[in-house]
């Protein structure tokens, strides 16, 4: 029975913010796997800045949405993830999730395929779940 009264206070019972990063390899003339383990992300509330006004006076009402570049690390499966998973939503959505267990990430990907028709073949599914587990899971892959 508790709740933060002011964002961006973290929710009670949340996991530690600090995780060890794995060292990455610099290679010459060959590929190397580089897993970067992130601190759990907490979208910040920026300091006060003016509200961009919208003109509602004319017959045509219009806004422009800000761009949000993908912000997930390089790693095996990362390009599969981006190709299949940012068709319908930004990659920021992944980082604001809790650190799911691998089975939970698998269930999320299956839901995307079954309910929303994400064009993911079974092999790609494994790769994508592997990537998500590497970048945002409570368990190591």
């Amino acid at each position: 029975m508790s709740a933060p009264q002011e964002s961006p206070a973290p929710p009670p019972g949340s996991s530690s913010l600090l995780l060890p990063a794995l060292a990455l390899l610099v290679v010459l003339g060959g590929a190397a796997a580089a897993y970067l383990v992130l601190a759990p992300s907490r979208p910040a509330v920026p300091p006060e800045s003016p509200v961009q006004p919208i003109d509602m006076s004319g017959p045509v009402v219009s806004i422009e949405l800000p761009q949000d570049d993908p912000i997930l690390p390089v790693g095996p499966g990362g390009d599969d993830f981006h190709r299949h998973c940012t068709i319908c939503h930004s990659s920021r959505l992944i980082l604001t999730q809790p650190r799911l267990r691998p089975q939970q990430w698998a269930a999320v990907v299956q839901k995307m395929v079954k309910m929303y028709g994400a064009p993911v073949k079974p092999d790609d599914e494994k790769t994508i779940v592997g990537y998500l587990t590497a970048v945002h899971s409570s368990e190591t892959p």
Binding site: M1, S2, A3, P4, Q5, E6, S7, P8, G13, L18, P20, A21, A23, L24, V26, V27, A33, A34, L38, A39, S41, P43, A44, V45, P46, S49, V51, I54, P59, V60, V61, S62, I63, E64, L65, P66, D68, D69, P70, I71, P73, V74, G78, D79, I87, C88, H89, S90, R92, L93, L95, T96, Q97, P98, L100, Q104, M115, Y116, G117, A118
Partner: protein, 407 residues
Amino acid sequence: MSDLLQPGEFRPVSRRELLLASAGGLLAALPGACNRATLPEPPRGPDAPMQFPGKVPMRVINSLPPCLETPWKYFATDLTPNEAFYVRWHLKNIPTTIDTRTWRLRLDGHVEKPIEWSLDELRRLPATELVAVNQCSGNSRGLFEPRIPGAQWYNGAMGNARWKGVRLDELLRRAGLKAGSVEVGFAGMDRGGLPSVPNYVKSVPLDELRKPEVMLAYEMNGEPLPLLNGFPVRLVIPGWFATYWVKAIERLTVFDKPFTGYWMNPAYRIPTTENAVEEPGNLCKTTVPITRMNVRSFFTGPGADRRLKVGETIDLSGIAFDGGSGINTVEVSADGGATWQPARLGDDLGRFSFRRWTLSLTPAKAGQQQLLVRATSNAGETQPSRVGWNRAGYMRNVYEELRLEVR
């Protein structure tokens, strides 16, 4: 090497870097490993703030489609300002341009005669106005344990506004419902990123739609609806969760049997248990669509970072609301729920609105004070003292807590 990361750091990458990585091997994407001219714009971290048009800086749950949470300080006023009102879309392609000269609302289906209205025509119909809370079904989802995937709101996916529009009953009467009509489906203009993504359509029984409080709203707090909150019109169904308050409606369809599209089933369903509570690992076998809100209450002041002295009076304040019977009492406990003191209720803006409450307390001893608040509705509904979980993270309404340091 200076480019090696230290433990605890990460280097975010943009789309261009990833394309380079997949096309040319990881070597091309590593910093310093190749021609700097091919590296993209400055990388954006996951906490990189984003501000949306017409909005103050808000907590970004998702950028596309936009899901933005209201900073807690905005609940200090009875009406939540439009520029701070939370935003929640499901589908990637939200309407960002509306030509009101060509936009029409269509009402069809099991009716004598389909009708279309322009925004001007809707505004000229007899209008109704009231204050009502709009709360996301998954408000507070980020606070459940075990954690649940989905939009990770804290408590700020809600807002209170004065809504103005035309009563649903008025529109239905004009179309002439045929015998056997049971529900009306509300279809939004937004679309998914793929044709396979189900369109956002919610369906509501006629009994509910005929109530005087249900309207198609075109104004929020005296202004046209912001585009991010559903311009030109949205459904306002006071007392029901916001999943039904379909934004940017293009079509109303009268059905002669219950509608079973994706966003009614399997999405947005709750277990058929008391207060929609179930245990992880022992999920209830039957579900129904979520509908009416349960009673909740919150602290809005003082902030948790206030430092107080023994003997200093604390002016507590907050809000409470329920699914439409109105608030009867709000009580605060300073001893973990053993005893409760009644708070003073503020102005009554109607049974669907936030009800403000205040209470002054003087802590007798130093240390960390844990305060709890609970509300009882006019219908006799109370809040649970312990958290009730369900698989989708809906309808959280446990006592809220405020911790204060007293020296």
